[in-house]
Symmetry: C2
Subunit: 555 residues, 2 copies
C-alpha cells in the first residue's frame, strides 16, 4: 500500500455494543465529520452516576481536523453529550429545525455559555462542510424531523441511516426519503451504517398511526378523566392525543417539566398543530367536568421523580388520581425500567384508576426498523460494505446476518466496536487499529472524576455499609489516649447491635495491644492489622463484609 494513498476512516466512538451515547467519526484525509453526540444512561453498577458520555480524546487530539457535528435527530442518545463535547471542541453543528430547537433547549439547561455555530438543515438538503458534500435525507423515527446522512468522499459515499423505521403512513405525512435512498443506491454507496436496535425483531414495525387508532378507541370508551403518559419527544404521539381530545370534546393540560418544554418547542417551531383553546392550564382542569379532561404527562418509564409516578404515589401537588380515571401508558419500558413501570402501574390501580399499558394493549410501537425494513434499507442502498451500528453486540450480529441474507459478502461486513478504525482505500476495506474510546461518567458537576476505584468503594458501601474505627495515640509513647471508638453506617441497626459494637471495640483493643507488644509502629501496618482482625470477626458474626476504615489520630 502506497503511503500517499487516500484513506477514509470510519471510527465509532459510541453506540456499538451498547444502546446509547451514539457518536461516529467519519474522517477523510485531514477532515473529520462527527455524526451525533449522545449520552447513555448509567448501568446498574455505576452507582450514583448521572449519565455516561463518549470519551472524545480522539477528537480533542485532532481538534483542528473536526469540521462539524451532524445531528440525525433530537433524542438524548444523539444530542445529550453536546454540552460536554462543545465545551472541548466548539465546531459548527448541523441538524433539522426541531433537532436544533431541542439542542438549543439542552444547551440553555446546561447553562452553556459559549456561542455555538448552529446550522438548520431542511431536508432533502446538500451542504458543503469542509471539502465534503453532505446530504441530509428524511427518515421516520419516534421523533419528528429525523434524518439520515450521506457523506460523499472521493473514495465513495458513506451512508448513515441514523435511527430509523419505514413508516408508510406517518402522522406528519412525511415518509422516509425512499427516492433519495434509491438514488444513492443507483449511483453507488461505498459503505452503509445502519441502525441495529430492532434487528432481533421479525417482520415490520407498525406505523405510529396504529397508536393513534388505539388512543381514539380508548378515548371513545373512557368515562372519567384520561391521563396519557408518553415520551416527551414523541411529538407525533402527543399530536395524536391532542387530535383525539379534539375529536371527543376534551381539553388538554400538559404536565411534567420535560413534557412542557418539548411541547412548547414543538409548538413554537410548528411541529404540533393544536386548535385554539384546546390546551388548558393544569390549574384550570378542576373547573371542567371529568369527561372533558385529558392530561398529558411524563413518567412513562416509572421514573421516581416524574409527574406520573408522583400522581401514582399521591405525591403530586396538583393532580390526584381518582377512581374513574383512565391512565394510558403509551410507551414500552426501556430495558432496566421494567420494575419501575410495573410499580407505577400497581400504584395507579390501587388509587382506583383503570390502567392501560403495553403488556395488555397496542399503545406503543417502536421507532426502529424491524428485520424486513432493515433488509429493505440494505436493498435500496446496495452498499459495497456494511457496518451495523446502534446496538448491543447481539443486535449487530443479527443485523450482519440479515445483510448476508440479502447478498452482502461476509468479508464486506464489519462488526466493529467503539474506538475501532474501519479503514477504506480505493480498493480495500479493513478493520485497522484502535483509538481511545470508552465511557466517561458524569456525576453531578464531575466529568470523568468517578472511576473504577470510586465505583468499587460505592459498591462495597452499598452492600454492607462501613465501620469507622477511630483511635487517638500519643505520638511520644504510642499509648492509646482516646478510643477506640466505632461508628457504623449501613451495616447493622445500631441500637440492636450494641453488644456487637462492644465486642468489636475489644477486638480492636487487642489488635492494637498486639501491635504494641510486637513493636509494630508503622501506621499502615497497624491499620491493616485492625482491618483484618475486625473484618474476620465481623464476617464470622454476621456473614457481611462492611468496609472497615481505621483512623489513627496523633496528639
Amino acid at each position: 500500500m502506497s503511503k500517499n494513498e487516500q484513506k477514509l476512516l470510519i471510527i465509532p466512538l459510541g453506540g456499538l455494543g451498547e444502546i446509547g451515547k451514539n457518536m461516529t467519526v467519519i474522517q477523510y484525509e485531514r477532515e473529520i465529520l462527527v455524526i451525533d453526540a449522545g449520552l447513555m444512561f448509567p448501568e446498574e453498577e455505576m452507582l450514583g452516576v448521572d449519565m455516561v458520555i463518549p470519551d472524545i480524546s480522539y477528537l480533542v487530539e485532532n481538534k483542528d481536523m473536526v469540521k462539524g457535528i451532524l445531528i440525525t435527530h433530537g433524542h438524548e442518545d444523539h444530542i445529550g453529550a453536546l454540552p460536554y463535547v462543545l465545551q472541548q471542541i466548539n465546531v459548527p453543528i448541523y441538524g433539522t429545525k426541531l433537532t436544533m430547537g431541542l439542542v438549543e433547549g439542552k444547551l440553555k439547561e446546561a447553562k452553556f455559555k459559549k456561542s455555538v455555530n448552529m446550522n438548520v438543515i431542511n431536508p432533502p438538503a446538500s451542504v458543503k462542510i469542509g471539502s465534503l458534500n453532505v446530504e441530509f435525507f428524511r427518515v421516520n423515527h419516534s421523533i419528528p424531523d429525523s434524518v439520515g446522512i450521506a457523506i460523499h468522499t472521493p473514495l465513495g459515499t458513506v451512508c448513515h441511516t441514523g435511527d430509523f423505521k419505514f413508516d408508510q403512513t406517518p402522522v406528519d405525512g412525511k415518509i422516509a426519503d425512499l427516492h433519495k435512498l434509491a438514488e444513492l443506491g443507483s449511483k453507488g454507496v461505498l459503505v452503509l451504517l445502519s441502525d441495529s436496535t430492532n434487528a432481533e425483531r421479525q417482520g415490520y414495525t407498525m406505523s405510529e398511526k396504529v397508536v393513534g387508532g388505539t388512543i381514539e378507541e380508548i378515548f371513545s370508551k373512557a368515562k372519567g378523566r384520561i391521563i396519557v403518559a408518553t415520551f416527551a419527544t414523541n411529538i407525533h404521539r402527543i399530536q395524536q392525543v391532542f387530535d383525539a381530545a379534539f375529536k371527543f370534546g376534551r381539553k388538554v393540560a400538559v404536565v411534567g417539566r420535560s413534557m412542557v418544554n418539548t411541547v412548547n418547542i414543538a409548538l413554537n417551531l410548528g411541529y404540533l398543530s393544536i386548535p385554539k383553546n384546546l390546551m388548558v392550564e393544569l390549574d384550570d382542569i378542576n373547573k371542567l367536568s371529568k369527561e372533558k379532561v385529558v392530561i398529558i404527562t411524563t413518567g412513562s418509564q416509572g421514573e421516581p421523580m416524574s409527574a406520573l409516578t408522583r400522581m401514582a404515589m399521591s405525591e403530586h401537588k396538583k393532580v390526584e388520581i381518582i377512581p374513574g380515571d383512565t391512565v394510558l401508558i403509551a410507551a414500552t419500558p426501556i430495558p432496566g425500567n421494567e420494575k419501575l413501570v410495573a410499580r407505577t402501574i400497581d400504584h395507579l390501580f390501587k388509587q382506583g384508576a383503570e390502567v392501560i399499558y403495553e403488556a395488555i394493549s397496542g399503545v406503543h410501537v417502536s421507532g426502529h426498523a424491524s428485520q424486513e425494513e432493515l433488509k429493505l434499507m440494505l436493498n435500496l442502498v446496495k452498499p459495497r460494505y456494511f457496518v451495523p451500528v446502534h446496538g448491543e453486540y447481539r443486535h449487530l450480529i443479527h443485523h450482519a446476518n440479515l445483510a448476508k441474507e440479502v447478498g452482502i459478502p461476509e468479508k464486506n461486513i464489519f462488526i466493529a466496536e467503539n474506538g475501532r478504525i474501519i479503514e477504506f482505500t480505493k480498493d480495500s476495506a479493513r478493520l485497522a487499529g484502535k483509538v481511545t474510546a470508552g465511557k466517561v461518567m458524569v456525576d453531578g458537576l464531575g466529568v470523568g472524576d468517578v472511576g473504577n476505584i470510586v465505583l468499587r468503594d460505592r459498591k462495597q458501601l452499598a452492600q454492607d455499609g462501613i465501620l469507622i474505627v477511630v483511635v487517638t495515640i500519643d505520638k511520644e509513647t504510642t499509648e492509646v489516649v482516646a478510643g477506640p471508638d466505632i461508628i457504623s453506617r449501613g451495616f447493622v441497626y445500631v441500637r440492636e447491635s450494641e453488644e456487637l459494637m462492644e465486642q468489636s471495640k475489644e477486638i480492636v483493643r487487642q489488635a492494637l495491644k498486639k501491635c504494641q507488644e510486637e513493636k509494630v509502629t508503622e501506621w499502615s501496618m497497624i491499620k491493616s492489622q485492625v482491618r483484618d482482625t475486625l473484618g474476620k470477626f465481623l464476617f464470622e458474626q454476621t456473614h457481611r463484609r462492611p468496609m472497615i476504615l481505621p483512623i489513627i489520630m496523633e496528639v
Copy 2:
C-alpha cells in the same frame, strides 16, 4: 353476629401485591394450617440484602394453633423461607415426594439442626391434619409433582390452586387433576384462591412439550457442542434435553451447583429417566468429539456467579466457549434480570457461539396459567367466593376481572393484601382486620436486623460515598489538638481532588472556630454545624451529596 359463631379466616402472609414469598394462613377456629413458606429475591433498592421472607409474627404468637405447613411445590418462592420458619415454629410439613426431597436439600444446605416431621403425600391423597381433612391434587407447573390443596372445614371447602397451568400434554403424562377439580366444584367450594401470575396474558399457556419440539429442532441442526441453560428445577425441560441428546447420539454433562443438586435429587427419586451411560463427567467431555457433547448448565438468568455467565466471560475453569458451540438459553428473564441475561448473550456471541434465546425463538413456555386457563379453573371449581393470589396488584385486578367475566359477583371477590384477614362465617364473608405482615430482610446471618435506616444509609453511601471528618479536641480547653482530618470513600477519586480536600479542611476549621467563638460546646451542635457547612460547600463544588460523618475525639 353471635359471639360464638364459627369462623374461618384466610390470611395471606405473603404473595399478594408481589411475586414471591408465598404464604397463606387458613385458620378454622383454634387450628391453623399454613400453605407454603417461600422467599422473595430482594428489590433493587434493598441494597446488600440476600433475600426477603414473610414476617411470621402472627404464626409465632399463635404457635400452639399451627398444625402443619402444606407445601404446593418445590420452588424457592414456596419453600425458601422454611429454614427460618421451622426455626421458630417446628410443625409437621406435608408435600409430594420431589417437593420433600428439595426441602430436605434446602434444610441441609441451611445447616438446619433440629429434626423435622416430614410427611410425603402421593396425590390424589386425603390427609387429616388436626381436625381438618386436607386433599392434595395434581396440577401442572414448571416443576414436577406440583399440587393444589383443598381444605374441608365445617364452613365449607377452601381450594388453593398453588402455582399451576393446564398442560394437556405434560412431559410426564400426569395432567392436572381435572376430575378432582370437577368433583370439588360439584360438591361446592366456599372459596377459591388461585394463581394470578399470568392474569395479563390472553389465551392459553403452551405445553412444555412445545419446548421439547424446539429443542429437538435445534439439536438436529447443531454441528458443534450444544450448551443448554435452564432453571435447575425445571426437571421436565431437563428430561427433554436428555431425550434429545439420546435421540441425536450425544452425551450429557451437568454443570453448576444447583443443577447438579436437583438433577441428583430428581434421579434418586425417579423424576428423571436417563438411559445408562448417557451422562458423562464434565472432565470427560473433551475426550468426545464436539458433535457428541451436550452440557446442561445453570445461568439462564445471567446470574454473575453462575456457570454459564462464567463460561461467557471466559472465567469458567472447565468449559471454554468456542466458535461452533450452540448455546440455548431455555428460559425467560425473570423481571429485573433482563439486562444481566442480555449481557450474557452478548458475551457468548463475542466468544463465537451461536446463541438461541427467547427473544428470537420458542425455547421457553411459562409454568403459569393464562387467561383461558384461569377461567377454566374458575368454571371447574365454581367457588362462592374468590381470592386472587400470587401476583402483583395489577395481576390480582386482572384476575378479579376474569372472575367477574365468568359470573362471580363482584361482592364475592376479595382483593386482599398481605396481613389482611378474610373472614368467613356461615352466611357471610368480609375483609376484616389486619395482622402483622411484611418483609423481613435476610442479610448474611442477620434476619431482620437490616431495616429502613440501614437501607437509607446504604443508598446514600451508594450514591455519593462518604466523607469522614475527624478532629481531636482537648476536653479542658476545647482547643483542637489534632485534625481536622478528612477521609473519603466513594466520593471522588482522591488523588485528583487534593485541592477540594484542602478546601474542605479549611471549611471545617472555620466552622469549628465559629462554634468556639459562639461558645457552642454541645457536640451534637458542633457536628451538625460541620455537617451543614461542609455539605453546602461540597454540593456547590460538585453537585453531590456524600454522607458527612463528623467524629470528635476528646483527650
